[in-house]
């Protein structure tokens, strides 16, 4: 609507000054109301979502996140209700997304890299203590299951136990079991004088207190204590660990060993014996130190790093030159049916790379694969199991996966080079090769160079191809960690940190930061260099 009036005004319909002013005011008012309504509606939705989020977060006790949501909602309202703040109106959504998906992830990865987060160091110290205490409970051998009823007297919980002879006994956390007068139904004591019996719903409501409740069997603590896991039967337990809150230490009652909290995130005895689980603590730069000094890793690290560079560089070069060659061939006007060929060329690009890699892995199987069986007439070529051939296979598959992208990019870049340049060169007597080398390639590189750098960074961390094709294999049997001959840095890190039964998120984060720094440095240097190319155009 408003465009139409603008157009009318521009198209030169003569209006008096007053008419023009009046129409502008009317126009602004009309659009303003609509815009305002829309703005109110959308901001209303934003605020409604924010309030919903805050309520949920507040009930979950996530005060920090709730405060952030309130803050973001307030800023969004302020920006869009303000009459000025035009740049902020454009920038706000992008900035919010940037913070959420990039900055937050980076900061969090950085934070994890400085902690010992991983298997055995998963939660807080309180959780570790309670978990150790509960797992140290051992049911007294051959002790029977006691039918129990949970009873309450002025807030004190007690267990009403029916013993082997059908006699009722009652005890609380502080008083050991003692005989008591009780109502017995079906051989089970269900109520005692002066105590109120908890119904199942009450038992559930007081789960925490009941799971903590431990009723001494007798005055002798060595006889153990009764605990009820389900509120209906109790068992006699003894504990092998005791926690001294003052000293912050665990003591094994059977052996007398004392386990201290030495600030390593786990209870450790003097002999170096560690009780698991431990808990999560910040450990400074330990993970980074370990990443470069760990005896198990330093050996493989060198050749894995070399291979990673080789893999990334060769992949970029091979895909680029094949893509460029095909782009030039299909860019030639003399070629017929170019459209169909181009579609065919893009096909590998359309299949998800992890799927294609998996299919290639099947085709390259030594005894049963399509390549050996059909193309090589039943030869047994160890495509994926010989260290050298496996490297070649990985590069070949990555070439197959990567050239369509380069083909597309080069086709676009070639078409943007004016034909006149080529004409002029030819008139001056240049050979096709010099036209390509001196004119087309440099002009092409101006637009393609940044993409080549991006492609290098991508291949440097090309986890999909390695994981799905060879999984880093064939294994290097001499290495102390499960690293293989085709592992690149990122897949090695994955194996070290995430395979097997021990996860080490801290170490993995430290590695990913190191890899990020390597890629960043290379990219910065390469971008600096390519600036000289831009002077060409």
């Amino acid at each position: 609507m408003s465009i139409k009036t603008d157009d009318d005004a521009v198209s030169g319909v003569k209006l008096t000054k007053r008419q023009r002013r009046a129409s502008h005011i009317a126009d602004a008012a009309a659009g303003g109301v609509k815009v305002l309504l829309l703005k109110l509606l959308l901001l209303g939705v934003v605020d409604a979502v924010a309030i919903y989020g805050v309520v949920i977060l507040a009930t979950a006790g996530q005060w920090l996140v709730a405060a952030i949501v309130v803050g973001v909602a307030a800023i969004v309202n302020w920006i869009y209700f303000s009459r000025r703040k035009l740049p902020a109106k454009y920038l706000a959504p992008g900035v919010i997304f940037l913070i959420l998906f990039q900055v937050f992830v980076l900061v969090y990865t950085g934070y994890i890299a400085f902690t010992n987060y991983g298997t055995g160091h998963n939660g807080s110290k309180d959780q570790a203590v309670s978990s150790l205490m509960s797992s140290s409970l051992e049911r007294v051998e051959d002790s029977r299951a006691y039918p129990v009823t949970v009873v309450d007297q002025a807030g004190t919980l007690g267990l009403l136990v029916t013993d082997a002879d059908g006699e009722a006994m009652l005890g609380t956390a502080d008083t050991p079991l003692a005989p008591v007068n009780a109502t017995i139904e079906d051989g089970r004591a269900v109520a005692a004088d002066g105590w109120s019996t908890l119904q199942f719903a009450d038992v559930i409501a007081r789960t925490d207190a009941i799971s903590e409740l431990s009723v001494p069997f007798s005055d002798d603590p060595n006889d153990g204590a009764l605990r009820t896991p389900d509120g209906a039967s109790a068992y006699l337990y003894t504990s092998s660990l005791t926690y001294d809150e003052q000293a912050g230490s665990m003591t094994n009652l059977d052996t007398g060993t004392v386990y201290q909290d030495n600030g390593t995130g786990a209870f450790t005895s003097e002999a170096g014996e560690v009780l698991m689980p431990g808990w999560q603590i910040p450990i400074g730069a330990d993970n980074f130190v370990r990443a470069v000094t760990d005896q198990r890793l330093t050996g493989p690290l060198v050749y894995v790093t070399l291979w990673t560079f080789a893999f990334a560089l060769i992949s970029v070069a091979s895909t680029f030159f094949l893509g460029l060659l095909l782009a030039m061939v299909f860019n030639d006007a003399r070629m017929r049916g170019r459209k169909y060929y181009r579609v065919l060329m893009i096909l590998p690009y359309a299949v998800p790379s992890f799927l294609s890699a998996l299919i290639w892995a099947g085709m390259m199987n030594e005894s049963f694969g399509f390549i050996n069986q059909v193309l090589f007439g039943g030869a047994s070529i160890p495509w994926l199991t010989d260290p050298v051939l496996a490297k070649f296979s990985v590069l070949l598959v990555n070439l197959w996966l990567g050239f369509p992208y380069m083909f597309l990019v080069c086709t676009g870049a070639l078409q943007s080079i004016p034909d006149e340049l080529q004409e002029a060169a030819r008139v001056d007597g240049a050979s096709p090769w010099s036209v390509f080398r001196l004119i087309k390639l440099p002009l092409l590189l101006v637009s393609v160079a940044p993409l080549l750098i991006a492609s290098f960074a991508f291949n440097f961390n090309n986890f999909n191809v390695i994981y799905m094709l060879t999984d880093g294999g064939p294994r290097d049997a001499s290495a102390p960690i499960p690293v293989g001959h085709t592992d690149i840095l990122i897949s090695m890190v994955y194996k070290v940190a995430f395979t097997g039964q021990t996860r080490d998120y801290g170490l993995a984060s430290a590695y990913s930061i190191i890899i990020f720094i390597i890629v960043a440095i290379i990219s910065v240097i390469a971008f600096r260099r390519t600036k000289s190319l831009e002077e060409l155009s």
């Binding site: 949920i56 009930t59 996530q62 109106k89 454009y90 998963n122 896991p229 389900d230 199987n365 021990t502």
Partner: protein, 414 residues
């Protein structure tokens, strides 16, 4: 100009909504999990993470429990591949489920991370198959309510070979007599597959760890004993430079295909593949694993069951639900119907064994040993399969095997 501004505004608003939505989701998680975190709901509901394929089987038990005890049971179907890692990561934040379905060999990892609470089976422990109770116990404490026992056995194509084989050589001979190039297939791969080769290893008297009264003893590595050397020598003789019975190029899919195509008469695999074979119209019989020695070939048993979260606010209800509901014959039979895996409860196992296939697996399972759950197993898995694969491919059996045992020992010693 105004049009652009308006559309930009709406884009911005949508972005903000999404952002706020995500922020609130990231700590609220899905609807079912939310209820465990809000205090008023905590008293009356249990959240159970279940393998997505078992949700329907458990629904009946969940409903009847809700009806009887007034506690809502929310079953959340989870992808099998993520369930363990999600559980380990979420429990310490207090957002995980009250109960999770899993396998007994997770125990070492779960217990090292302190995310599981002990369960007391009480007198009902005697009602379960002994192997299930052994597997549920870790360092002397029970953590798992078992519902199924799974082990591998030999599937035989009765059309090709009508009679079961007496021993390993007899199996190969019977298959060759039926005119097959490759009578027996077993899942391998470039990195080996010790799980599937374990029955043969036990036949040579080489378990991974020795055991004490608390279960497997990580300090007593047995894999490199004399029996281990014999096993390695035998494996080499059946590999690339020998009879060629074992081939690391045969992975799970290739093994399956040759059995389904009738190119192989014997297939060492688990109950999860029986459906595919019967669907392909093959008349399948389940045999014990033919032993290459005089001793029995005992496979690993994997026991599936339910764990209680260490941070659950509803431990009493969770224990009650598991021990007194999941532990009943009806529920175990429901779970059996959904997975066709032998129930862990003895009475249900007997009932299920009316099916000859299940009875076959149960017979093999009677000889099985629980797969070790101790964290030291991680070090074993890393090297074990590779050593087997290299032996099959022609490396010196004894040297390879002893190096593997030494590597594992040094990994365990740290």
């Amino acid at each position: 100009m105004r049009v652009t501004k308006k559309s930009l505004l709406s884009v911005g608003a949508v972005a903000a909504i999404v952002t706020l939505g995500l922020t609130s989701c990231s700590s609220g998680e899905s609807g079912a999990e939310k209820e465990t975190t809000s205090p008023e709901a905590a008293a009356s509901s249990l959240t159970v993470w279940v393998d997505a394929e078992r949700v329907d089987a458990l629904q009946g038990a969940a409903d009847s429990y809700s009806e009887e005890k007034g506690i809502e049971v929310n079953l959340v179907g989870k992808d099998t591949a993520d369930i363990k890692d999600d559980f380990i990561q979420q429990v310490p934040t207090g957002k995980g489920p009250d109960v999770v379905m899993g396998a007994h060999d997770w125990l070492g990892e779960l217990s090292t991370n302190g995310v599981v609470a002990p369960i007391e089976l009480g007198d009902s422990a005697a009602d379960y198959l002994p192997v299930a109770v052994d597997a549920a116990t870790y360092e002397g404490t029970t953590y798992l309510l078992p519902y199924a026992v799974e082990n591998i056995a030999v599937l035989r194509n009765t059309e090709l070979v009508p009679e079961p084989a007496a021993d390993f050589d007899d199996m190969i001979a019977k298959g060759q007599a039926a005119g097959l190039d490759q009578p027996f297939v077993v899942e391998q791969g470039a990195e080996g597959n010790p799980y599937h080769l374990y029955p043969f290893q036990t036949a040579f008297g080489a378990p991974v760890f020795g055991s004490n009264d608390e279960g497997y003893d990580p300090a007593d590595l047995q894999i490199g004993n004399a029996g281990g050397d014999d096993f390695a020598a035998w494996l080499g003789s059946q590999g690339k430079n020998g009879t060629g019975v074992f081939n690391t190029d045969i992975d799970g899919d290739i093994a399956k295909q040759s059995f389904l195509d009738g190119k192989a008469a014997f297939w060492l695999t688990g109950p999860w593949n029986v459906g595919a074979a019967t669907d392909a119209g093959i008349d399948v019989a389940i045999d014990t694993v033919p032993s290459p020695t005089d001793a029995a070939a005992a496979p690993f048993a994997g026991v599936k069951g339910f764990f209680v979260s260490a941070e659950s606010k509803n431990k009493v209800a969770a224990n009650d639900f598991l021990v007194n509901y999941i532990g009943t014959e009806d529920v175990q039979m429901d779970l059996f119907a959904s997975g066709n895996v032998l129930p862990a409860l003895a009475a249900a196992a007997e009932e299920a064994s009316k099916d000859p296939i299940i009875a076959g697996f149960a017979a093999v399972g009677a000889e099985s040993v629980p797969m070790p759950a101790i964290p030291a197993m991680g070090a074993v898995w890393e090297n074990w399969g590779i050593a087997e694969a290299t032996v099959i491919n022609g490396a010196d059996p004894k040297a390879t095997w002893q190096k593997m045992a030494a590597d594992v020992q040094s990994l365990i010693d740290g």
